[in-house]
Symmetry: C2
Subunit: 764 residues, 2 copies
């Protein structure tokens, strides 16, 4: 199972750099150079298009269309939704002496592409050598405004090196965008206007009826004419070129989708475009830079190589971890309650734009410790979609709320019933997220207003879904699929049972707390939801009597009968068999003791402080050799636990490609888009794994363990109005507060009060 | 779970009679009055069509088309096939004074429909009362030739009761037939000819490319004209009507589908039609009667009521059992090796014409004991489709041959992967069928030529599919669905393990026998299939070490962890919840100890002689109250075992609707077609249950147990050149040989030699 780096980009601490253009690698680069601002995203596709393999993805968060799946059995969804490409706003035709710019056909030199993690811009530059021998330096710059998120900028600079003349320039804005997988356009224009330097198109999706406004203004040194056709507008200009001088054309873009439609949307869209065009582009770019500087101040992680280490490799890790933070922040930062985090973010069609339970289980800690407001927004998404989760529970003949395994809008969208109906982890993950958020932030208001109701409905769901063992009388969940998706329909999955138990307890405790602190609100909630004492007592009874068999050593059986499964030596599986879903018959993966990703270990990670080290050790040592890591989220969990258990070589091995999964295309599928939720686990791997942070016990604790290859690891976390800076060195760890009041944490198990001055704790 | 009779038809020992026409019941009657001759089938639809709810199904065995399912995972089929309606050959337009005959619109009286089980004909008669006050007695007769199976006859008799005049008569033959469920026609005509009294159409299916010839000749007292249009021909005549006289119009039909196409098929089809038309219709009808008389001589079952019993109810059972034998014989009698037995036979679109493992597990005994040549043909179907079963095993990453759960042509056609990939019972049922056939008939030639190779490839499949318990080291099948489809993906399903064990043993024994008796052929087979001694030794090792846990009482756990499942009191499920697949969420049915149909009990039925009575009793008593009988095959198995265990009341209760499942529309879905394979279990219920026949031990044995309500039960079975007649009476059972040499069987465990003279054994 050796995964190998596919090294393509130059290493730089703050940039992702591609020197030279490789058509065969174009789609991977396109993914890597994706830009987003949470509201919209665009792959790093060529502005000029042409005969190059490309997925010209431009996406707007929350925009999808519907498809029928066909009615089969009760509880199985009969329709689904999927993210569709939104307006294409980058396409730029450049013609010089009748020759059209197309890197698949023309001659060019000095190609360089740079994603600047501090500027928040993507720049692409090369010298176009026409058939007639003219040389034109072309530079494309783009930015998606992180401050005013309906805005984007495309800047094109043309510098004739050996001639003067003019270039014909056409900027297209179009809703004729085709979903690559489904080979269809899902838009119908409702209004098109082409006038002066402006092109405006308002369009509606075919079935979901979502309406979106797209507008562009072309700011050219020469006159601009506009023409519309179908659901496309073209802005044309003839750019005068003078040898040695740089001509610049800016396209100012607004993509607006906020639930409005018709005249209202049109009026607001055109006003927004006017406002956008009135602000100098330089202001957007400098505000963009300020945004990212602020982000790096609180969220940067720095890594330095140990003297004996491969400095270049560590520099690559440094670049990688910053890239992860950049991409995750681009994808989500809490600006909207309508969005969640798609597995591929806004970088491709794979996974249909759907968010999974990765959000709460993998991404939430990053936000909890860098941007707690964003963590709250993620949880509010679940609160706003509670009615759909309640509807879903009904479909499954259960009570309460069952959260979807895959969704953009809150409805279950996974067409594979075995995942949609059998995986309870989205629901328990939401409950865990609420608990973890309130536990860390102390945001009781959230608990009273939203959290308690969600916990109540999730607990109600779990109680209605639980069964009672016919022999032992213990409670458990029957017919489930745990996190390990290689065992489809099992009974008493330990993860599901334990998470269910904790969820039932959390719900009961939250309601007890609310009854004491907010009795009126609590009574109203109970009245509204028909929650009686007997029901809470039943939650407690189920939680107390939940099956969780452990042997004398503390080894937890993943599910009933797991130990009896035929053993597979996962080392004997040839590399060519991966990914197994493509090479093994579907049912074959389900009948051995090979597991896809942490299951028992996932629970030991999430509720880490609830289990003694000996239990973690025996379970890690048992399950680690049985885990094939067919989920990109998997190795980080193993790395974190390995570090905790002092298995530093394993911890470093599992960390391996965490920071550069996509930059080095480890899974060979980066061409489809970025692994956004894995990116979050790379952060957790460093902070929880090597920083040794634990946040599920009383207060915060740290057990720092610096890998030998690193001389220094620094990271910051935000916690209750403080910024805690942590500096790991081989001999010691330094803790200081960049902001906020002194705080007592535990370091290596001992209380330690942090202040503005660095507290140094010797390494162990 | 009370199933109630929906009494509609008059009781008669040899006929199914419908007096009066109920439009609301039209589709149920259509199913019940289905005719077939193994090669073709037609529902009892009105010849004249009209405004009446109807599924005008005319089917030809083996004719299907293909559909794409979409590629998903390896081992899951990406296309399937389904039976399509073939040529419509009964439609008859009758117009009198401008009024068109249509029972949905015209006035009529004296409606009577009769299916004659001895004549093999369906007759429908009524008096049409026109708006003008004319009365015309109209009688439709139809027959599907059981002797020359490409032939059919439609006879229409018109008797004007109070007038003379003429009727316009149009007989249509058409391939414009629409699949009701899929709302599409799957035919394209390749040649159409309308000439003289003849209409001929040759057509090809859209995707499977099957070609079929349909021809009709109209024999009318008046001239006939023919016209063709698209893929339809119409034969028209104006029938002179003289008061008090009966005018007769015969339509002679040939439907030919035999793999030929193009000119060859056309030439053979037209010649066949000529030959058919040359034989007087009366000869067809008398040959038909002779066929059925012969059948009843060997296969009839007679039942007489006890003095204290409800005579009418027993008469209904008598009618029912004959109807079952009639329908099963119509559907299949071994005339072709290309066909199997669809779950609905040739009576409807439900189940897509697919045959399931019902063939070997439920239908085969009927043929083994009434028509062993047909049993052989059924097994030859499996032999001819062995290459597809081997292909299927490869798709599943296994070796050998995996037989499909649903098929018409040998390819797996079930789009539900959980059934297609996890149910091994089709393969073990084929092996059981081979073993049972050879065991009963002694047909070694079949074993050498076909059986051994199938057994070998099935054993090879099972050995490659088996796994080894990680704790006990025992072999078993992991990730399977046993006969009880309410537990989807379980380990060590007892039925599957035991059937697998017996299959491996049968294969090894068959090859050992072949090595002794046919060494050259055996060596050739082993050479051709690459079968070494080590592989056979492995089969034996797996068989010897197959897991089959039983507790001290002999109770067998249905699968690992079954006893731990939450208990459901099936009596507490409201009747309105049935069928559960329609009313419960799909996953909900999988997580309790409720079982759909016999699983452990199925194995105790099939290998009845291998288990002591105490084991059968403890398992019956445990599983019976947990079985919900959501399969129509289920109650008969329970009835047979209940009879064996002396639980006669239960045996009679479970027998309940066996003989009249469709005649009384017990499942309320007869409108979709007949439950052909359940019909076979009704036969087994009587012969195995009350006759107490056992055929899986050494020789035959009987333990007759006559229900109290019956005064007399007589049945015959064919066995190795003999016809054994069995007569059960309250005091005694009589055995005699209608044909063949004396034979020793066991009755109530004691040897008993049967001869032509009746041997009488006192009842116990």
């Amino acid at each position: 199972m050796a995964k190998a780096a596919d090294v393509h980009f130059a290493v730089d601490p703050w940039k992702i750099i591609e020197n030279g253009f490789d058509p065969a690698y174009a789609r991977v680069s396109e993914s890597v150079f994706s830009l987003a601002n949470e509201s919209m995203g665009v792959r790093g596709c060529s502005d000029e298009g042409g005969a190059v393999d490309s997925l010209r993805g431009s996406y707007v968060n929350g925009v999808y269309d519907l498809e029928d799946i066909g009615r089969s059995y009760r509880g199985i969804i009969d329709h689904s939704h999927f993210m569709i490409p939104a307006a294409e706003w980058l396409m730029t035709d450049l013609v010089l002496d009748g020759e059209r710019l197309d890197l698949g056909r023309v001659r060019f030199r000095d190609f360089r592409r740079e994603l600047d993690l501090r500027a928040g811009t993507l720049r692409r530059s090369f010298v176009w050598q026409t058939a007639a021998g003219k040389e034109l330096r072309v530079t494309f710059l783009r930015a998606l405004d992180m401050v005013c998120r309906e805005r984007a900028l495309q800047r094109v600079e043309l510098e004739p090196l050996n001639f003067s003349g003019e270039a014909e320039y056409t900027a297209t804005l179009s809703f004729d965008t085709v979903h690559e997988g489904r080979k269809a356009c899902y838009w119908q224009a409702v209004r098109v206007q082409a006038e002066g330097e402006c092109g405006l198109v308002q369009a509606r999706t075919l079935r979901s009826g979502q309406e979106m406004f797209a507008g562009a203004v072309l700011q050219s040194p020469a006159p601009v004419t506009a023409e519309g056709e179908g659901q496309t507008v073209r802005l044309k200009t003839t750019v005068p070129l003078r040898r040695g001088e740089t001509a610049r054309v800016d396209r100012r873009v607004v993509l607006r989708y906020d639930g409005a439609s018709g005249e209202k949307l049109w009026a607001e869209g055109t006003a927004a475009l006017e406002a956008c065009a009135a602000v100098p582009a330089e202001e957007l770019l400098s505000a963009q830079r300020r945004y990212w500087e602020g982000l790096w101040r609180t969220s940067d992680i720095t890594i330095e190589a140990a003297p004996a280490a491969d400095a270049q490799a560590v520099a690559a890790e440094q670049q990688g971890v910053r890239y992860c933070i950049f991409q995750l922040t681009q994808t989500y930062n809490g600006g909207s309650l309508r969005h969640n985090i798609g597995a591929k973010g806004l970088t491709g069609e794979a996974y249909n734009g759907h968010a999974f339970w990765d959000t709460e289980s993998c991404c939430l800690p990053f936000f909890l410790f860098t941007n707690p407001a964003a963590a709250r927004s993620l949880l509010l998404f679940r609160f706003h979609t509670l009615p759909m989760a309640m509807e879903r529970a009904k479909m499954l003949d259960c009570e309460g709320a069952c959260y979807p395994i895959a969704t953009m809008n809150g409805e279950e969208a996974c067409p594979l019933w075995q995942h949609a109906s059998l995986q309870l982890q989205p629901s328990t993950a939401v409950a865990y997220g609420i608990w973890h958020y309130v536990h860390l932030t102390g945001d009781r208001a959230f608990l009273w207003d939203c959290g308690a109701e969600m916990l109540l409905q999730i607990a109600r769901f779990l109680a209605s879904r639980a069964g009672r063992d016919g022999v032992t009388g213990k409670y458990g969940f029957f017919g489930v699929m745990g996190p390990d998706e290689f065992h489809m329909m099992v009974n008493n999955n330990a993860y599901t049972n334990y998470m269910g138990k904790r969820t039932l307890e959390s719900a009961a405790e939250a309601l007890a707390l609310m009854a004491r602190e907010q009795p009126a609100a609590c009574a109203a909630l109970r009245e509204r939801t028909g929650l009686g004492d007997a029901e809470i007592a039943r939650w407690r009874e189920i939680a107390e009597n939940m099956a969780l068999p452990q042997d004398a050593s503390g080894l937890i059986e993943q599910h009933d009968g797991y130990f009896n499964l035929p053993h597979t030596d996962i080392q004997s599986i040839p590399v060519s068999d991966f990914p197994l879903y493509d090479h093994w018959s579907y049912d074959r993966i389900y009948r051995t003791d090979m597991i896809k990703q942490p299951d028992v270990l996932m629970m030991l990670y999430l509720y880490n402080s609830s289990f003694p080290e000996a239990v973690k050790r025996v379970n890690y040592e048992f399950y680690q050799p049985r885990t094939i890591h067919e989920s990109s989220l998997s190795p980080a969990i193993h790395s974190i636990l390995a570090a905790e258990l002092g298995k530093m070589d394993e911890a470093v091995d599992f960390f391996g490609f965490a920071t550069r999964l996509d930059l080095d295309n480890y899974n060979r599928n980066t061409r489809e888009g970025l692994h956004i939720t894995s990116i979050a686990m790379a952060w957790a791997n460093i902070v929880y794994g090597f920083g040794g942070l634990r946040s599920d016990g009383d207060g915060l604790s740290f057990t720092p363990r610096l890998p030998e290859r690193w001389q220094r690891l620094c990271f910051s976390i935000v916690y209750r109005g403080r910024i805690i800076r942590v500096r790991l060195a081989p001999e010691e760890t330094g803790f200081s507060l960049a902001e906020g009041e002194p705080l007592t944490v535990r370091v290596y198990g001992q209380p330690c009060t942090l202040t503005a001055a660095e507290t140094r704790i010797p390494a162990r």
